[in-house]
């Protein structure tokens, strides 16, 4: 069953805000506290918010298991792909070959603080995004499965 209109409206308004904040945490993982896991967990909490505020029937259109499941596998494939990138370049698995290479994400940075330079740190931002996508999908799908066990209408 759904919660009251106030909670629903609040959830609708907070949902994109939490998502954008989570994405902010994800992409700033190498500059500020946070990263893939934390940001992914924050976004998954947004999904938890929508899940709790609406009824099963309404939620079915907003968040979908299949999408989350695909996200999860996609994130992991992206992550392991970022590792294989090193393998393809002739370095060992998980080598950070992009760092300091001058390519995309590969700016060379001076020591000391450098806020706002997102395109640094080599494969770390890529991995952050991959892990963020994966954790987002994973935690949300755990919640959805558990919700389907509460005996209400099936999700």
């Amino acid at each position: 069953m759904r919660m009251s209109k106030i909670v629903r409206t609040g959830a609708c308004i907070l949902y994109p805000l939490i998502i954008i904040f989570g994405l902010y945490v994800v992409v700033h993982g190498h500059l500020t506290p946070g990263g893939g896991f934390q940001g992914g967990a924050v976004i998954a909490t947004a999904a938890a918010l929508v899940l709790v505020a609406f009824s099963h029937r309404e939620v079915a259109g907003m968040v979908r298991k299949a999408v989350f499941s695909a996200q999860e596998s996609l994130g992991l494939l992206l992550f392991i792909g970022a590792g294989i990138l090193g393998l393809l370049a002739g370095a060992p698995f998980f080598a950070n070959i992009l760092a300091n290479s001058g390519l995309l994400f590969g700016l060379t940075v001076p020591p000391g603080p450098n806020p706002g330079e997102l395109n640094t740190a080599g494969v770390i931002p890529l991995m952050n995004i991959a892990v963020g996508v994966e954790v987002w999908g994973g935690l949300a799908i755990i919640l959805m499965y558990l919700f389907s066990a509460t005996g209400g209408e099936g999700t």
């Binding site: 994130g75 300091n100 940075v109 080599g122 954790v135 499965y145």
Partner: protein
């Protein structure tokens, strides 16, 4: 009898764990060479301001892969628990 045994077990555990605050000094790690390496090289090698992130994704990236896979495994396990059952699937009991 059993209660005495449980109490004894807990006593030994408590005594064993009390070694920690007695022997490990808080706020003053005994050796720091590995972490000094990370702090010194983290920003230059991985170009990340956040040394924790550079440890998580660069120096110990393989652990992080394992950790993501743990989450994936748990999700798969949960999905296995709440899967839809086929009609006439054989039952296995005791």
């Amino acid at each position: 009898m059993k209660k005495v045994l449980v109490a004894a077990i807990f006593l030994v555990w408590a005594a064993g764990l009390c070694i920690l605050p007695l022997l490990l000094s808080f706020g003053n790690p005994a050796a720091t060479d590995m972490d000094t390496y990370f702090l010194r090289n983290g920003q230059a090698a991985a170009a990340a301001n956040n040394i924790v992130t550079s440890v998580v994704f660069d120096f110990r990236g393989f652990d992080t892969l394992g950790e993501s896979v743990v989450l994936f495994t748990a999700v798969t396990g949960v999905a296995l628990m709440f899967r839809a059952r086929k009609e006439g699937e054989e039952h296995e009991d005791e």
